[in-house]
């Protein structure tokens, strides 16, 4: 169970981006978080993935409150999350070949010996051909790079997937392909999913349940979210 309770977070304590946001994702559940751009939903996703320490509020992971974020979080806890971001160009280290990109979490956690088996298997899952694996990010297209980023998120077999606008930059076919990969993984492992996006049709189709930002953070930030309680 992933529970976000009354989270307030931002980059400046005086003007938090997220105010009093609450959201729950049950194990195996796929929740879509829908909201306009700039409303703070990406920040909330970063909080949920233990990548951004909130100013206030609690994050409960299977009932126990999380006390540390980023590097201070226990490694087992932060590797329980697989994260995919909106822009593949920015979320891939420009110097690493795609195969190293996918294998990096295994190296970082000292599981080098799994690389020869796990990387080709995952590359095949996300639809990357072996010749693409030897290239660097600037030599492949956005869609191919996002496939590699998804493979990297799956390589440690996370129990939770956080997809922050994963498909916003992609064409329809690649979107459908990546969503299918995520759904196959979830069907096989029972992982939970928090998918953040602004496309209602996509999230409705993809997730078990779609929640709108206005219901997640009712206080909202003045101006950014129109005060329409009748959603």
């Amino acid at each position: 169970m992933l529970e976000l309770r009354a989270i307030t977070a931002g980059y400046d304590r005086r003007a938090p981006v997220v105010r009093d946001a609450s959201l729950t994702v049950a194990p195996g559940e796929a929740v879509g978080l829908l909201g306009p751009s700039g409303c703070g939903k990406s920040t909330l996703a970063r909080v949920a993935a233990l990548l951004h320490r909130p100013d206030a509020g609690t994050l409960l992971l299977d009932g126990t409150p999380v006390r540390h974020w980023r590097h201070r979080a226990p490694r087992a806890q932060r590797t329980a999350f697989g994260v995919v971001f909106q822009q593949p160009r920015l979320s891939a280290d420009p110097r690493l070949r795609l195969t190293d990109l996918i294998a990096e979490p295994l190296r970082a956690t000292g599981r080098r010996e799994e690389i020869p088996a796990r990387v080709p298997e995952l590359a095949d899952t996300v639809g990357l051909t072996p010749d693409l694996l030897t290239r660097r990010p600037h030599e492949v297209s956005d869609g191919q790079l996002q496939r590699a980023c998804l493979a990297r998120a799956l390589v440690l077999r996370p129990r939770w997937l956080i997809c922050d606008e994963m498909t916003a930059m992609l064409d329809a076919s690649t979107t459908a392909a990546l969503v299918a990969v995520v759904e196959d993984y979830r069907a096989a492992t029972g992982a939970g999913l928090l998918a953040v996006g602004h496309d209602r049709i996509l999230l409705d189709r993809w997730c078990d349940r779609t929640v709108h930002w206005d219901t997640v953070a009712p206080a909202g930030k003045e101006g950014a979210v129109p005060a329409t309680p009748g959603r």
Binding site: L51, V83, L90, E104, A108, L156
Partner: protein
């Protein structure tokens, strides 16, 4: 654009098509600049590496009968006020100046990169403390600080290196810190953290390789700067002992004769200082264009 060549080739389509190139003129000055700079740097490097082992210079030898000869066949650059051949002394001086420049620039870059990367990667109070220290040091005029450091040691090459290195890592530290800070907010660092990477691994695997090109560029640009500093210190009589040929001591020693109309003892060491500076700056400019991501992506389509 339109004046470029029209080339006939088989198109992948049905019939042959006329391919037109675009904007070929812009590249030629670019390659010309690269070649001239590279050639000058190569000549400089060869001269300082090969000449001293081949032609010995007795730093102390004087020949007053041949003093202040204008440039001519036997002495292409003329002689100085105690009759020493200026060409040879210029090459030896350039050797000392380049040695000081390269070693000092490398040291300064290593210090600067380490300090800047630490500050940028750790952030928080470490960053603030380190950067205040940098601000404090850089608030002292660095020539003054350099003079102070040199004055603590006996004259020689190494005090000059130490002095130049210790006063020049500040800008590199600032550049590296800014670069690390901008890289640190990239999603790929987030992805690495989420993938279980430790602080050390993030710094060594993702941040440092990202700033090395910038740091290297800073180092290259610092070589001429360090040479100028060595010359300035020597010119003030604080750096190398006066009989040792360095570009600074050469110019300093020739100050008196310049007023009497003998221009060559100052002109040639000055040129030896300026030409490698321009050549290195030219190479660095090409390098900067190469590491500029927009240009690279343009070549990649």
């Amino acid at each position: 654009m339109a004046d470029t060549t029209v080339e006939k080739t088989n198109a992948t389509g049905a019939a042959g098509a006329a391919w037109r190139g675009h904007g070929a003129a812009r590249r030629s000055t670019h390659t010309l600049r690269l070649r001239v700079s590279a050639a000058l740097v190569a000549v400089t490097a060869l001269a300082v590496l090969l000449v001293p082992p081949l032609v010995q210079l007795d730093q102390q030898a004087v020949d007053l009968s041949a003093k202040l000869l204008p440039p001519g066949w036997s002495h292409p650059f003329g002689t100085d006020d105690v009759g020493r051949d200026l060409l040879l002394r210029c090459v030896y001086g350039l050797r000392v100046s380049l040695l000081v420049g390269v070693v000092a620039a490398l040291t300064a870059t290593v210090i600067g990169t380490a300090v800047g990367a630490t500050a940028g990667a750790l952030g928080g109070w470490v960053d603030r403390a380190v950067m205040r220290l940098v601000d404090t040091v850089s608030s002292v005029p660095h020539l003054l600080l350099g003079i102070f450091i040199v004055a603590m040691f006996r004259p020689g090459v190494w005090p000059v290196v130490v002095s130049v290195a210790l006063t020049h890592w500040l800008s590199t530290a600032r550049i590296v810190r800014a670069e690390v800070l901008s890289l640190r907010s990239r999603p790929y660092i987030d992805a690495a953290v989420s993938g279980g990477a430790s602080r050390w691994r993030v710094a060594v695997r993702h941040l440092l390789p990202g700033v090395l090109p910038q740091a290297g560029l800073a180092a290259v640009l610092m070589i001429p700067h360090a040479m100028w500093h060595e010359s300035a210190l020597s010119f003030l009589g604080l750096g190398l002992p006066t009989h040792t040929a360095s570009l600074g001591t050469l110019i300093q020693g020739a100050r008196g004769s310049l007023l009497a109309g003998q221009w060559w003892p100052t002109l040639f060491p000055g040129l030896f200082l300026i030409i490698p500076t321009l050549a290195i700056a030219g190479l660095a400019g090409v390098w900067r264009e190469r590491i500029n991501p927009r240009r690279r992506s343009e070549l990649m389509l």
